[in-house]
Structures are given as structure tokens and as C-alpha cells.
């Protein structure tokens, strides 16, 4: 089979287009290959000789921004090849999320002015909840403030519609990267890589390069694991509550030794501590290796997620006091903001990342046998 060399770029000609620039850098990496042991991106690169746009999208989403390759690279500026693969892939990645987001346009606004958007939404929804709460209540605990029926009426669509939007985007992603039918083995490998955050391990390095520059560290992987598993515990807690409510007719409020609390309290703590950790590490890391122009959106997402965790914990701590009402409004406002922004905020990265890991597992299986 002949090779479409017209896809190749000149390594010395930098591009402002994120996909073209990522392609230029990936081609240099493919001719070098010194970084193969850091993560999944480099072995995936070596399976190709030229890179179509879909290949770039896939590689960009497979990159976890561990930055090992940057500090190891002999071609970083001032070398004329000016390599900064973490940044190039982060750019192409952000570009792909914004392009694939449905409906389009919203993601761009959030990424550029994330903190303002998130703060305005949390405040707005909190006021809305406070107003709704002013209506006469009908139940115990939180339901004395906001009826169960009202919560379901608001949060069911607020949860399902964004999920549907993400589904539309993921379908487009899968088509773009050339994904086919998945096997159980693909799922097993991808979930294992995601669950252990394998691509932030640095391979034999035993850590990634973030807050300590060229020194390897596990701090970011640990903080991210706290957020990831904390989030899943909180989600499991809510799901447990839903099941208790509808299946077992056991209504909130629940005591500490109940499934929702036993999952939710540690989850909230992990989420809060993890987000605080990520924000602190982020301050020490070199912004030049991250996504250009998206710092606001990325920070806002971590703040928002941490705030959901923290306000949930505080809400539990102040139960039965007069603070419950205002805090409930704030917490629900934050949760609603988080849900509605999910397809357009950094939250989307989790879904794309999993899709990229699935595609990587699949491609590896198909090509390497």
C-alpha cells in the first residue's frame, strides 16, 4: 500500500492551527521515539507513518498531560523545532472538545471565561432555589426546604439532557477517530487504565512532571485520583438515595450509617481535598505546558467541583440549623451548574479520555494482534 506523504509537514514550519501544529510535532516524535515508555501516546504514534486529522484528535485525547516528554525532549525551544508536545496536544484536545460540543459555541465561552460563567450560574441557581424554597415545604429534612417533587422535576432533565448532549459529541468523536465495535477486552483495558490513571504514572519514572518541573512526582496523580474516586463515590451516594427512595420507599434524611452517607461523606471529603490539591499544584506548574487560553475554564471546573463537594459536606455538618436553607440553595445551585455545564466544561475530558482509551485498546488489539 502506498503512503499518503502529502499529509507530512515540514518540521521547521510552525503552524497556528492546533491540528497542523500537533501533526508537525507528532511527526518529529515519530522520528525520535525516545519517550515511548512514558505513556500510551508514543506507542500509538509508532503505529502510524502519517497522521490524518482523526489520528491527531485521538492522540490529543489520549494524552493525559503528564509532561514527561517535554522535560525529556531534546527539541524544545530555543531549538528551531520548538517542541512542546504537552501544549500542542492540549491545544488540539481543547479544539476537539469545542468543535465536537453539542450544541456548539457554549464550550468556547466557558473555556475562555470559566470562573465568571460558573460563579454567575451558581449564584443565579442559588437565588432560584431560595425563591422556590420560599414556597411552602412539605417534607422532612431538606424536603422541608425544597419538595422532593421539585428536586426531581429540576434535576432529572438537568442530568439527562447534558448526558444526551455528551452522547451526541462522543458519537461524533468515535466516527472521527475511526472507532469500530468494542469488545469486552477493550472495555477491561480502558477501564483499568482510567481507574488507575495509568497514563499519569510516567511508566518506569514512577511519576509525572508537574509542580516540580523536571523532577518526577506522584502528587498530581494522587490528587486526581482523589477527585475521580471522590466524584464516583458522591455519584454512587446519590444513586443509592434514589434507589432507597423509589425501590425501598426509604425517604431522606438518612442517618450516618446509611448507604448514601457512607458513600457520600468520604466521597465529599476526597472530592474537596483532591480539588484543593489540584488547584495548589496547578499554581506551581508551568502554564506554558498546558492549554493556551483555557486556564480560566480549567480552574473554574476544579473550583466548581470542589465547591459541590465542600458545600455538600458543610450542608451535612449544619443539618438542623438555620443555615440549612441558604446552604442547600447554594449546594443545589452548584450541582445544577455542574450538571448543565458538563458537556461544555472540563468535565467533558473524562468522557473523551475514556473514549480515547477505548479506541487505543481497540487499535492496539486490532493492529498488534
Amino acid at each position: 500500500m502506498s503512503l499518503d506523504v502529502s499529509l507530512q509537514t515540514d518540521p521547521g514550519v510552525l503552524s497556528d492551527d492546533p491540528v497542523m501544529e500537533a501533526r508537525r510535532q507528532i511527526e518529529i516524535c515519530n522520528a525520535c521515539r525516545y519517550c515511548e515508555g512514558y505513556c500510551s501516546v508514543f506507542p500509538a504514534i509508532t503505529r502510524e507513518k502519517v497522521f490524518a486529522d482523526g489520528d491527531i484528535t485521538q492522540l490529543a485525547n489520549l494524552c493525559h498531560n503528564c509532561r514527561g516528554c517535554y522535560y525529556a525532549c531534546q527539541y524544545t525551544a530555543p531549538h528551531e523545532f520548538d517542541l512542546n508536545l504537552p501544549r500542542a496536544l492540549a491545544s488540539a484536545r481543547a479544539e476537539s472538545w469545542e468543535r465536537l460540543a453539542w450544541p456548539g459555541g457554549i464550550a468556547k465561552v466557558f473555556q475562555a471565561r470559566g470562573e465568571a460563567v460558573a460563579a454567575a450560574l451558581v449564584a443565579g441557581f442559588a437565588v432560584m432555589f431560595a425563591l422556590i424554597a420560599a414556597l411552602p415545604g412539605e417534607g422532612e429534612g431538606f424536603y422541608a426546604w425544597l419538595s422532593h417533587g421539585a428536586m426531581v422535576a429540576i434535576f432529572t432533565p438537568a442530568f439527562l439532557l447534558p448526558l444526551a448532549a455528551i452522547g451526541v459529541s462522543l458519537r461524533a468523536y468515535w466516527r472521527e477517530v475511526g472507532g469500530t465495535r468494542l469488545t469486552l477486552a477493550d472495555w477491561r483495558e480502558a477501564l483499568d487504565a482510567a481507574g488507575r490513571m495509568k497514563n499519569l504514572s510516567g511508566g518506569q519514572a514512577g511519576g509525572c512532571n508537574y509542580e516540580k518541573g523536571e523532577r518526577y512526582s506522584l502528587a498530581r496523580r494522587h490528587a486526581h485520583q482523589a477527585v475521580f474516586w471522590g466524584f464516583l463515590l458522591c455519584f454512587a451516594s446519590t444513586s443509592a438515595g434514589t434507589v432507597l427512595h423509589y425501590v425501598f420507599d426509604a425517604k431522606a434524611p438518612y442517618g450516618f450509617f446509611s448507604l448514601p452517607k457512607l458513600l457520600g461523606v468520604p466521597g465529599g471529603i476526597l472530592l474537596t481535598v483532591g480539588c484543593a490539591g489540584l488547584l495548589m499544584l496547578r499554581k506551581q506548574a508551568d502554564p506554558e505546558l498546558g492549554t493556551p487560553g483555557r486556564a480560566s475554564g480549567e480552574r473554574a471546573f476544579v473550583w466548581l467541583l470542589g465547591f459541590v463537594g465542600l458545600s455538600g459536606l458543610v450542608l451535612y455538618a449544619v443539618r438542623g440549623t438555620g443555615l440549612t436553607g441558604p446552604l442547600l440553595a447554594l449546594h443545589l445551585g452548584a450541582v445544577l451548574t455542574f450538571f448543565l455545564l458538563a458537556p461544555y466544561s472540563k468535565m467533558a475530558h473524562g468522557f473523551y479520555r475514556l473514549a480515547a482509551l477505548l479506541r487505543e485498546a481497540q487499535d492496539k488489539r486490532v493492529r498488534n494482534g
Partner: protein, 467 residues
């Protein structure tokens, strides 16, 4: 940033000249004994590490699996490999010393921050003999600088050593240009590890004539051989052919310096290679590329303007590792010639003659297939398949210099020798003395082995001298 005042304020126990692999190993060994150590690195921080930053592995003797290495690679096999590439231009006692010491270097490297990975794709043939650094040589250099920093070693960047002050057989100080300011650095022991002279084109031109100006330098522009030259002026004993350098054929569009690994080009065996007059000049299919790329550096260097063009057709474009530069592409031979600036009719004639000399046979890109030409000079003895299926592709070739062979003569303790016998307190390590062991040819990963073994020895000896 280490300033002139810090450098000149004290008499250092050990002064290390050159902050590449060998210098770093020496500095770490010396600092671990408690010595006050300074590294004078000629490059700015971003380009520190000399040619070590372009390396990727370390050749290592071992009995049974060791780190990333499989099976066994014993002293005798290692020695025979070295003997073959150097054609005897080596010092057996020094060479065997390096080979024996290499085994214990690997765990030492790991203990000092170096991380390994399994051999890279496309390098399976090396997974028994060469341990690959995770992230390559720059990651290794970074790890050693961090280790040195943790041990309290002082590092001065942009510190160019201009002169070694020697009184009888004893070095006393160095004259250093520190980012434009002249500083005297005093020390009790000196380790010289500042590489060869391959980036000084004028020096190369003295051996090679004006052709050297057209050579590309694959590695750092900072290896200008200033300290080596100064030691020659002192009358220090040397080894290695002063005129020779290791050069390979690389993509002619590569940067003048520091192009490193990505400028390699693996298409020659599947191509015909012509010079700027459109003439073939050597058997492109003599052997597999890993065994021939080194001689092609010299072959291209001997052609007019030190340039050549490797030409293939569409059937061969997918047979080799991708070059980082896109090929020049055309649907006709005259079209290709025009883009390359070659005489079109002549190129057409050369290719027609070649095609007519090709004989039927079964083409096997991965092995010597014996598919050869008949009746043309020079012949092509393998993979001779007509250049006939458009589109046609061409890559420009130029000589890329890797390193020079001239170095300081050392003994088993890395000690150098002057006109009046051994110097009291000057040791040398790395490329600067590698010519003692690798007097000709090249053995993948062996430069790093020499640098690590002799860097460590030089550091230990220098520290013992001042203890």
C-alpha cells in the same frame, strides 16, 4: 545562576569541566565523598549536557536479565563486537575495563535517578545489549543534575573554559569565560570531560578541506574542543586520528547543529543515490542500512558540494522508518529533477540505465535478497528494483558529523599524561578520551558506557586525591 564571585571565592576540591554524562558521573562520585565540587558547563542551561542529551542507550555487559536487558551479554561477546567495529583500533586493557565495569554501572545509574525503558520499537536487535533511558539522554542528564544539586554540587552554565593553568605536572586553575566575564577558578583536582571538537568547523576544515563547511553537525554546537586544544598546546599525550570524525548520511535539510536522531534517513537501500550531476557513485544495496549508514557519510562528503539525492518510486515509500522531512514528490523523473535542481536529461538517463540493468528476482526488503543489477557500474547488489512506478520521491543527503576520535590518553585510573609524565591532578572522561578505546567506527551505546565508567573513575580518583 552561579556568578563569578562564587566561582572565584574558593579553591574547589574538584573542578569538573563539561556537564555531560561523564562530567556529571564524576561530579556525583566526588560529591558523595564530601568533596566541594563545581561543574563548569559551556552551554546555557537549556542546552546543557553536551551530546549526552542526544543519546538514548547504554551498552552493558550482564549475566542473566538485568534491568530492562534480557538474556546474557558477556565480556567476550562485547569485546568481539568492539573489536569488529574498531578493526583493532582500541586499547584492550582499557576496553575490557570499561566492559567489566559496565555491569555495575546500571544499578548505580538507577540509584542516581536514571530510569530505563524497554528497547524502542524498531530497535529490537538491541534489547539484549543496550539499556534504553526512559525519555532518552536529556532525561538522564536532568536526573544527574538533580542528583548533583541534591549533593550540593555547584553548577555554572555558559562557563567556557579557555585555558588550563598548569605548573610543572600540576594543574592549579582554569581561566573561564562566564557569560562574557573572565574568571579564574582554582582547584585541587581537575576532571576534563568536555567532549570532542566536532562542532568547530574550522578545525574540521583543517583535516577535510573546505568541504567540511558543508557538513552538518548532528549534536551540540558547544563541543568546540577548546580544552582539548589547550591540552594539546600543553603537550598532553593524545590518542586517535586527529583528522577523523564519525559521520553518517542524514537528511540534507537537517538543522546545521543539534538535529539529533530525527534527521536520519533509512531509504538508501531501496533507492538509487545520485550526486548533483545526476550520476550514481556507489552500490546502494551493499548491505542492510544499519551496517552501511556510517560509510555513506564519507561517500556523500566526497561528492561535489557534499550533497546527494536518494530516489525511490511509489513501491518503496512505505518500506522504511518515516523521515521527519517530507520527500520531494513528482509524477515524472524530469519533474523530480527540476524540483531538486538536477540536470533532467542526465537523471533520466541514469535511471533508464539502472532500470535496464535490473534483473527479475524476488524482492525482500527485510533481508539481503540478492536482487542485483547486471552490467552497470557501480552495481546495486541487493534490492535492485526499477525506479518505474510514479509518483517518484527524493530525499537530499548530506554528511552529518557525530563525533571526533582525537582525545587525551588516559590510564586505567583516567589519569592524563603530559610531556613530563603523568599529571598529578588531571583526569579525563567521556568523549574527550574515548578515542583510546573507540579508535575507529562506532558501537551503539558504547560512548555512554565509556563516559559512565570513566566519569565515575575520574570522580573517585579526583576525590581520593584531595581527601
Amino acid at each position: 545562576m552561579t556568578d563569578a564571585k562564587t566561582l572565584s571565592a574558593e579553591t574547589w576540591d574538584v573542578v569538573v569541566v563539561g556537564g555531560g554524562n561523564a562530567g556529571l558521573c564524576a561530579a556525583i562520585e566526588a560529591a558523595e565523598t564530601g568533596a566541594r565540587v563545581v561543574i563548569l558547563e559551556g552551554a546555557p542551561k537549556v542546552y546543557r549536557g553536551g551530546n549526552s542529551r542526544h543519546t538514548r542507550n547504554f551498552r552493558c555487559m550482564h549475566h542473566g536479565p538485568l534491568g530492562p536487558l534480557i538474556d546474557t551479554y558477556d565480556e567476550e561477546e562485547f569485546w568481539q563486537d568492539l573489536l569488529r567495529v574498531t578493526k583493532g583500533e582500541t586499547d584492550e586493557s582499557l576496553a575490557r575495563h570499561v566492559i567489566r565495569q559496565s555491569a555495575e554501572c546500571l544499578p548505580w545509574m538507577e540509584a542516581h535517578g536514571v530510569r530505563f525503558q524497554k528497547s524502542l520499537s524498531g530497535t529490537l536487535s538491541l534489547d539484549r545489549t543496550n539499556a534504553f533511558f526512559l525519555g532518552g539522554g536529556k532525561a538522564l542528564v536532568n536526573a544527574y543534575y538533580l542528583t548533583a544539586q541534591d549533593l550540593g554540587v555547584t553548577v555554572a552554565y555558559e562557563a567556557t573554559v579557555k585555558h588550563v593553568g598548569i605548573d610543572a605536572a600540576k594543574a592549579t586553575h582554569l581561566e573561564v569565560d562566564l557569560a562574557g566575564e573572565t574568571v579564574t577558578v582554582k582547584g585541587r583536582a581537575f576532571v576534563l570531560a568536555s567532549g570532542g571538537f566536532q562542532s568547530d568547523l574550522d578545525w574540521l576544515a583543517r583535516a577535510w578541506g573546505p568541504a567540511a563547511k558543508n557538513f552538518l553537525i548532528r549534536g551540540t554546537p558547544y563541543n568546540r574542543g577548546l580544552v582539548l586544544k589547550d591540552m594539546l598546546d600543553h603537550g598532553a599525550e593524545t590518542v586517535g586520528d586527529p583528522t577523523q570524525c564519525h559521520a553518517v548520511a542524514i537528511d540534507g535539510r537537517a538543522p546545521k547543529y543539534d538535529g539529533g536522531i530525527v534527521t536520519r534517513l533509512d531509504c538508501v537501500p531501496f533507492s538509487i543515490v545520485v550526486n548533483k550531476d545526476g550520476d550514481r557513485f556507489y552500490d546502494e544495496g551493499e548491505d542492510v542500512w544499519p551496517k552501511r549508514y556510517a560509510i555513506w557519510g564519507r561517500l556523500v562528503a566526497a561528492q561535489p558540494d557534499q550533497v546527494a539525492y536518494s530516489i525511490i518510486d511509489s513501491r518503496s515509500i512505505d518500506l522504511f522508518m518515516p523521515s521527519v522531512y517530507p520527500p520531494v514528490t513528482a509524477d515524472t523523473i524530469p519533474g523530480l529533477a527540476q524540483q531538486l535542481g538536477l540536470p533532467g536529461p542526465k537523471l533520466q538517463q541514469t535511471i533508464e540505465a539502472f532500470n535496464a540493468a535490473c534483473r527479475p528476482g524476488t524482492f525482500h526488503p527485510q533481508e539481503l535478497d540478492g536482487v542485483a543489477t547486471e552490467g552497470i557500474t557501480p552495481p546495486k547488489t541487493n534490492w535492485a528494483r526499477p525506479i518505474a512506478e510514479p509518483p517518484f520521491y527524493a530525499y537530499e543527503l548530506r554528511p552529518g558529523v557525530t563525533f571526533t576520535y582525537l582525545g587525551l590518553k588516559v590510564d586505567l585510573k583516567a589519569r592524563t599524561t603530559g610531556p613530563q609524565g603523568q599529571y598529578d591532578n588531571i583526569w579525563s572522561a567521556g568523549e574527550m578520551m574515548a578515542g583510546s578505546i573507540l579508535g575507529q567506527g562506532y558501537l551503539a551505546g558504547f560512548g555512554m558506557t565509556i563516559g559512565t565508567v570513566f566519569g565515575r573513575i575520574a570522580g573517585q580518583e579526583a576525590a581520593a586525591h584531595v581527601a
